[in-house]
Point group: C2
Chain length 714, copies 2
């Protein structure tokens, strides 16, 4: 990539960003848009604009508000998981900032002032374009100036260790504070029991579970809730809810029509496909009849479900948090494949349908999923490699000659040259996350948050292997395939020359991500338009309106691996092309600012895992660090630096660091330390019946709870 | 090894065995030897000869008694660990027996009837001696008969899987039965707490531990016993006990002398070195004075120890077995390096001095010990290889020409040729176990049984690497070093030719072990002689006598790896030289018989770990199986069998088998399943004070227990 397309890319991205900022400043002051720009505050029952001390909206007030908010504000408004995300952003920002302070003023001048070494590429052109002169590539082979780069590697690693250690400790504190909160959460009194063996003596599951746990915990056992197969009852329940909703809507429209015409216009609709065909009926009457018909049906289905569709899994409740925490960590049965007891997730994020999967089924599913992911990672590499090679302009011209007319126009060529490869990449990557989340859920995990962590991990491996390694190797190999045919040994040299070139590609990739991505995120143009369209044409009731503006969550499953990919890329080039550091730092710094706003005002988390995401993030940051160190060893080798072995202690150090962190901190994220839940007495014991009720799926939660159904049946 | 030395070796071993059997049959009927042949029964308060229904001792009665004893008898007289040892012996015996049933009648005839392939060794002699004709080596390269060997490999593996699976299940049942026994053991109510952090607010350790556990377990916490640094108090205690013992002895001698001379002879001794120099004193008076002096000194030391020498470890007692079992499995603190809670071992096997090692110290010690063991395994290989090459007769003649006169005598040469290498090996291996046990204890393990398991594991790796691989490779390489210099590629062929030859070496090794080893074990000649000598010249009191005959335990740390080595060797040659099977089977069958007698009548176990040894044995049997399968793949390759890949599924199957067994069964051996301790109500709650007292080291166990010392100090 030459300097002009680089600048063009940055400049156009920046323009888009500025436009979006102006839009945001203008739109967010309009009261009608408050539900789009402050939904989290509205849902929490806060005044949307109260966050800004002054009532006149300064267009940059959100920046001041973001900076002045504390971690406690974030936890209060969005939970520990969001706070952990900011720990991640600030840790990574810190690492890049401190690395930059050393590298930018030292490595860049050393590279620029180096007397041009006479490296020519295969076609005799000087291998360095203007940008590459700022990189380590410009330093002489085996020159003394490489020692600065060695020092830089040590500095970056050291900074990373310190920041990561502090962050892990801090997150551990956050998690402890959340767990020892005097406001007890229902899931702290419950455990999940799976793999309940078939009962031998004709007991129902419920009796069996009760007897088993009463025997082990005679004093603290409270009650059990056996998981049932809810497919049928869910279907009826949803139908009923849908009818109720439609009835409400029809009534409102009818009431509205009365204002115009005192008699009102009777609402009618057709019962067939999409309301387009079939008999025409009076909506209000029709839905009332339907509800009357479905209500007893639901009750009967609830009864038969609770009695007859019990599965081999249950939620067991204890009257003590310590017992529940200890039970989740203890082996109850002699064999691992019966009576598996684990922590209960929050009721809202339990994946009910996966609970009854047996131990062996889960194990097998896990390996099958790993295998599929492995294949996905491996074979996605081919199309990505092709796309990245294909979308360089000279290749396009060669392969699609009819585009010549367009491509020969300088402006278009410059813009396309800057964006085409990155756009292809981004579109391509957007297809995957849903698939990975689906796979993770199929593993038989118990909670939404665990599945998202799983998907996030898979996505990270995917993106590192395919985007980073794929682009680096793919682009290089394709460009020089012919060359290599003649001189197979030149592949290492090729790679060495292309690394700095790839860096500029990645810089524009990162800049595109933050300028355009953050601009879109902050201005929420798309949700805003959809909301206004819906409000105008579809929404009839308050409920409809609320559904139309209800925001999503941050989407950790894609956000974190994407951020980690940017970090991995930045870190790997940090010494080779220090120019990438400011862009990386802006990515995370601006990200912190934008998402602070989003978290405080917009997004509503779907679940709370009390920071269980952190060990996962930590491990992958460490993996990036390792990749950086290995890349550097390789690159020093390519630079024919005879003291390359002085870098070898670094990867070893990283392994030790990862091992020690894992040993020291990880167990607390796996399972709750007893001292944490025992330390502070609860404000007042929660009502155990409320705790129990909170775990009953809505479709079974009639006035007559499952308990009464049992009592009937016994 | 030629046929004549093979036969000589077997025959002389057998003669020694017969002589020892006759000795045993004769000596064991003498009532004066009862304490040597029935100590376990005597200690258990049983009539030594009651085991035999008839009072007239049939010299072979012990065989009938061994066969008629049940597993329950073994558990009652010697504990679960001994029963597990018999499960091991019978499992391994079963594997070899069923393998033999297939292999001996099929592979041996196939090998004998094969038309002699014209393989000559480097000096033109036919490579096969008479014994080798019975082995797979005699089957034609890439011949159809090799398919029988392939089948044999599958058969042996299948039989092993079935037996191992059944055995693991059976041992798990034994362990469960022992743990759910209605007679509660003190250690079931206790947990071990290590890494107690320094207290911040001037509390004593005791107060700190009490407060911590009272907070977490307000209802079931009973008491804590802080581990103290007992070096000083132990020294005084031992001195005092020694004095008391000597006083008793002096009094008895004085009383005896009165029978001859009514006034009695006053006992005197010198106070200096070994009683040889120094002032002559009246013993009774001297010891009485010494005791009067030491008793208050001990009490003062006890007091100061309990108050001032508290370490960062404690034993914590609960009033419920379930709580103790759950506590041992739960994380108590957020960081792994504080408040580590684990199962409490039996009081008698706690390694008190290792308890106060901190988490990091333990970790580091562990890696250091692993490294030392690694070096030991690696560098012992050199001397063993040398010895095994050195002690072949032709080498001896060449290297030590002055021995020629002796070595040229046929009888001596035959005997030496048969025994020399084996003897060298056995003596060499006897030096190691104590060193390994010492290393295991230094790792910071908490119990004797764990340390023995550790030592046993290390010894197994050592013996497999050095004896098996060392002898096989070493002997072969040395013999053919010159040959290989000329044709480096012939090393594989060399190895292939020498494998069957090594088999006969190992057969004599196994036979020597069981004939001589078991003969010595059963006849107890050495302890018998030592006992009679001591009784005659040293023992004065009943106590002395008892000390003289007190038997040891089975010595798992060396016995199990030795047995496993024999099994590994047998299994690896099972298809190559099926002739080894009967010898292997006799080793384990005879071992079962001899040790059944020993366990019922002689040995007294030092500890009870409820079968925790089994997962360890299981894993190593599986490792042997893997080694067998890999050896076979190699050997089929050497035989140029083009269908060799049909064996490749076997090692994969073994990995899966090991993984599944480990997953399914292992957790119960790591930690106690709660249902097991909860299932059966205790006969009656044990007195918690007795439970507590049983953990106090004898040197601190005065009438005034540590508690009172605390109460004084508070």
């Amino acid at each position: 990539m030459d300097l002009s397309s680089f600048i063009t890319s940055l400049f156009t991205s920046f323009i888009v960003f500025v436009i979006l900022m102006i839009l945001f400043a203008w739109l967010s002051t309009k009261p009608g848009n408050a539900v789009i720009y402050y939904p989290n505050r509205i849902l929490k029952g806060l005044d949307p604009l109260d966050g800004s001390k002054s009532k006149t909206r300064n267009p940059f007030a959100w920046i001041r508000e973001a900076f002045s908010s504390s971690e406690q504000d974030v936890i209060a408004l969005s939970g520990v998981d969001s706070a952990v995300y900011f720990v991640f952003l600030s840790t990574v920002f810190g690492i890049l900032l401190l690395s930059g302070l050393f590298l930018v003023p030292i490595v860049i001048p050393l590279a620029i002032t180096e007397k041009t070494p006479d490296v020519k590429d295969s076609i005799g052109k000087n291998a360095f374009d203007d940008l590459d002169k700022l990189s380590m590539a410009h330093i002489k082979e085996n020159g003394k100036r490489l020692w600065a780069c060695v020092l830089a590697c040590y500095w970056v690693s050291l900074v990373s260790y310190v920041f990561l250690w502090k962050a892990y400790k801090h997150v551990s504190d956050l998690r402890a504070a959340a767990l020892m909160s005097p406001e007890a959460k229902p899931e702290q009194f419950a455990v999940l029991v799976r793999d309940i063996p078939a009962s031998s003596d004709g007991q129902s599951r419920k009796e069996q579970v009760d007897a088993y746990f009463k025997n082990i915990y005679p004093e603290t056992f409270y009650k059990s809730l056996v998981v049932t197969e809810n497919k049928e009852v869910n279907k009826i329940y949803e139908e009923l809810e849908e009818c109720k909703k439609k009835l409400r809507r029809a009534e409102i429209i009818y009431a509205d029509s009365k204002k115009v015409n005192p008699e009102g216009v009777v609402q009618t609709h057709k019962t067939g496909f999409l309301g387009l065909v079939g008999k025409k009926v009076d909506s209000i009457k029709y839905y009332n009849e339907k509800i009357d018909e479905l209500t007893p049906k639901l009750e009967a289905a609830q009864k038969s479900t609770v009695r007859e569709k019990q599965q081999g899994a249950a939620v067991v409740f204890f009257t003590s948090r310590v017992t529940a925490a200890a039970a989740a960590q203890s082996a109850h049965a002699r064999m691992i494949d019966t009576w598996t007891v684990t922590d209960a997730p929050e009721p809202r994020q339990i994946l009910w349908t996966k609970l009854s999967k047996t131990y062996y089924e889960r194990e097998i599913r896990q390996y099958v999923v790993y295998f599929i992911v492995f294949l996905t990672i491996l074979f996605y590499m081919i199309p990505i490699g092709l796309i990245s090679a294909f979308t360089t302009l000279p290749n396009l011209r060669k392969l699609l000659p009819f585009l010549k007319v367009i491509l020969d126009q300088t402006t278009i060529r410059t813009v396309l040259g800057a964006y085409l490869p990155q756009l292809a990449l981004i579109v391509f990557l957007a297809l995957l996350p849903k698939f990975l989340l689906f796979l993770s859920k199929e593993e038989g995990l118990t909670s939404e948050s665990h599945a998202e962590r799983g998907a996030s991990g898979k996505y990270f491996y995917f993106s590192v292997f395919n985007v980073f390694i794929g682009v680096t190797l793919g682009g290089t190999l394709f460009d020089s395939l012919k060359d290599i045919e003649n001189h197979p040994n030149s592949i290492v040299d090729k790679l060495a020359q292309s690394l700095p070139g790839n860096a500029t590609f990645f810089i524009t990739f990162v800049a595109l991500k933050f300028f355009v991505g953050y601009g879109l995120e902050l201005s929420r143009i798309v949700p805003l338009i959809i909301f206004h369209l819906k409000r105008k044409y579809l929404c009839k009731t308050e409920e409809d309106l609320r559904d139309a503006w209800l925001p999503g969550d941050l989407g950790y499953a894609t956000k974190i691996p994407n951020d980690l990919l940017v970090f991995t890329i930045t870190l790997c080039y940090v010494v080779i092309t220090p120019l990438i550091i400011p862009f990386g730092a802006i990515y995370f710094g601006l990200g912190w600012l934008v998402f602070r706003n989003q978290v405080l005002k917009v997004v509503v988390p779907k679940y709370e895992s009390n920071g269980k995401m952190w060990p996962h993030i930590h491990l992958r940051i460490v993996a990036s660090l390792l990749l950086f160190q290995v890349t550097m060893i390789g690159y020093f080798g390519v630079k024919k630096f005879i003291y390359t072995p002085v870098i070898i202690p670094l990867p070893i150090l990283t392994f030790i660091f990862a091992f020690v962190c894992n040993k020291k901190f990880y167990r607390f994220f796996q399972s709750t330390a007893l001292e944490v839940v025992a330390r502070h007495e609860l404000k007042d014991m929660p009502n155990m019946e409320t705790v129990y009720k909170s775990f009953i799926p809505p479709s079974l939660n009639s006035e007559k709870g499952p308990d009464e159904h049992y009592d009937d049946s016994v």
